[in-house]
Symmetry: C2
Subunit: 363 residues, 2 copies
DNA sequence: TCGCTTTCAGAAAGCGCTTTCTGATACGGT
DNA sequence: ACCGTATCAGAAAGCGCTTTCTGAAAGCGA
């Protein structure tokens, strides 16, 4: 006999791959059997769905404990009880803006014992649609769209054809930031008013010559902030020519590139530069410094969002503070709250202007 | 007739809540019926599981398209095909360190068409266990533990009792950072060697008097970085007394508090402070400045991780750069790769010392 | 032409739960 | 003692898929 060649793993013949044998997960049936009750009773005892004699309930509980029973969420979802996951779609969790909002969503989800299916689109619109479809397949109880909508007919239509059936099937949707075409609950940061207030504050500091580092014009967030900023300046009789609005990607490097373009444009140097997001402002800060400009002595810089690290910069960044985690939390609350009637609900979060060292007073 | 009182919503009687009627989702049966085939054939046609006559396949595809069919992931998972979700547990997505790693995981997951169930424990060990259990219930294909293990018997045991059954049932697990007790695949940042290299670099700059701002001592990451730093100093004959290691929470504010404690401790001011993470270093930077100390003229400061924004600080932070997104990606790869044999696999990522402006040369 | 294999579609079993329906038992009122 | 009514446990029917099993039809050589 070549007993010696036999797999080590005595009790499971034929295993040659050296992997440990896979055990089947414990099912409700096993628990019921051990407790000496029917699966129906076991289910009721564990979930408290209906009255079960105290003695049986204890026996079931004990059996579940002893076997290390964990219910199969897929079976539960399939059998009709609502799924316990919510979907969150954002552009990039690596970006501090989204990370902060996501963090708030996670906290709120944890309180409700919900699991979060998070997805990053990496700013590819196609991926957003694909994720939506996957979240529908998962029967996510709610879907949160974090980040501004794109003002583009084709994209809006594609989004709607995914979302409409989901809503009809009882799904809940909420967005953070404005989506032009979506009739769903929304958490709206005060982009316009915040930018306008910032403009007023900067004018108050004595600035008259501005430039704006903007993101892609199709993003509602960009459109609103630029419009608000321009409106705020207009109030004070200051004009912002279109030539002073430079576009770049919605990232640190985008801000850097936009700032370079501004400086290379050859126009007169503004006394103050407004980057529509803090992340872009960080890139701009680097670019301005690389050109030998001192902040704020040679040029002032302001951002928007107040993401965690910008107050630590030297000089600290003047910006419009948004309560990012609270906004994430609010979005989940909104999506999960029972809708009353047809009306969409909107929750607004005002931005607060925080003047720090990156903007100087112009004499 | 009180026709006028009737609900607006003509085609679905009895609705008084003003909500639109909920439609049932389209099922595979509906698709099959429309295509004039059996559900079995429809399934095979859609999934390409087996050969189906081309004409039928086309008919099924068309029917699915026409009805907007989306398979029910729960039913699919239940019927035996592997689930398409992976679980990721980290301490806090709002922290740039975890956000960067998570970002890499998301990218890798997207390539494989997997959905990521992300959870933040907010540093409560109990929640980690609870999440693990929820991820098991979801039959996640793999579970990634991001962040260092806690050296605590009770916690380690609790973790193991969740993980062991999961592994036995065929689940895959990988960790980022060292876990003392876990025999699973791991992505290991070069904490010891990186910290040692940093120590050598700082000594090379002329520093001899050091202090360390450390996190909770139970975290393996903290233990390894402190040990490595100390070892690196020892090589150069520099000693780091225990009294010069100050503990704080693993956050920005923890770094701030630790720095304050150091300054209030009354000992001589070190020429260089090493915070075991960049996030803590940021807090320390603020604290040192509040006390009127200039960086690096009065005291040098170094961190670890090279999270996105610290290179933008003024002065930019000297640190040990870790390829965070790549580490996240590697963790997912590791967990998903078919295991060969019993051995756990370990992927190491060396840290690279990046000397920037926050550390000066001591004459 | 017959009997064999091969190809492909349908029937049906089941994945692990929840929930409705049914039935047994105990209780109270008359 | 009897009947109506609660109360609680079990039987069984799904939830929407995948997959095995079964069977019909077609193709081929003898």
């Amino acid at each position: 006999m070549d007993e010696l060649d036999a797999p080590r793993n005595g009790h499971q013949a034929g295993r040659r791959d050296g992997r440990p044998p896979e055990r089947q997960p414990v099912t409700l049936d096993a628990v019921a059997r051990l407790a000496g009750v029917s699966p129906a009773t076991a289910s009721r005892a564990l979930n408290g769905t209906a009255r079960v004699r105290e003695e049986l309930r204890a026996r079931v509980r004990a059996a579940a404990e002893a076997l290390g029973y964990i219910p199969n969420a897929h079976a539960q979802a399939l059998a009709g009880s609502a799924s316990s996951t919510v979907g969150v779609i954002c552009h990039d969790v690596g970006d501090p803006y989204f990370a902060a909002i996501a963090s708030g969503v996670m906290a709120a989800a944890a309180e409700r014992n919900l699991l979060v299916l998070l997805s990053s689109t990496f700013r590819e619109p196609g991926r957003e649609i694909a994720y939506l479809s996957m979240l529908r397949a998962q029967r996510a109880r709610a879907i949160l769209l974090i980040g501004s909508g794109i003002q583009d007919r084709a994209w809006e239509r594609a989004l709607d054809t995914e979302l409409a059936p989901y809503l009809r099937e009882g799904g809940r949707v909420a967005v953070v930031s404005r989506h032009r075409s979506l009739r769903v609950d929304a958490v709206l940061p005060g982009n316009r008013t915040g930018a306008a207030a910032l403009a007023r504050a900067l004018v108050g500091l004595g600035h008259r010559e501005f430039a704006v580092l903007a993101g892609p014009s199709a993003l509602t967030t960009v459109a609103d902030r630029v419009a608000g900023f321009r409106a705020g300046l207009a109030e004070a009789g200051v004009e912002l020519p279109a030539s002073r609005v430079v576009r770049g990607a919605f990232t640190r490097d985008g801000g850097h590139a936009a700032a370079c373009e501004l400086l290379d444009g050859g126009g007169p140097l503004p006394t103050c530069v407004f980057a529509v997001t803090d992340v872009m402002a960080v890139g701009a800060l680097a670019a301005l410094r690389e050109r030998g400009l001192r902040i704020p002595e040679d040029v002032s810089l302001a951002g928007f969002d107040d993401v965690p690290l910008v107050r630590e910069l030297t000089p600290a960044l003047t910006t419009v503070a948004l309560p990012l985690p609270e906004m994430g939390r609010a979005a989940l609350d909104l999506a999960l709250r029972e809708p009353r009637g047809e009306r969409v609900r909107v929750e607004r979060f005002a931005g607060e202007v925080v003047v720090r060292g990156s903007t100087r007073v112009v004499p």
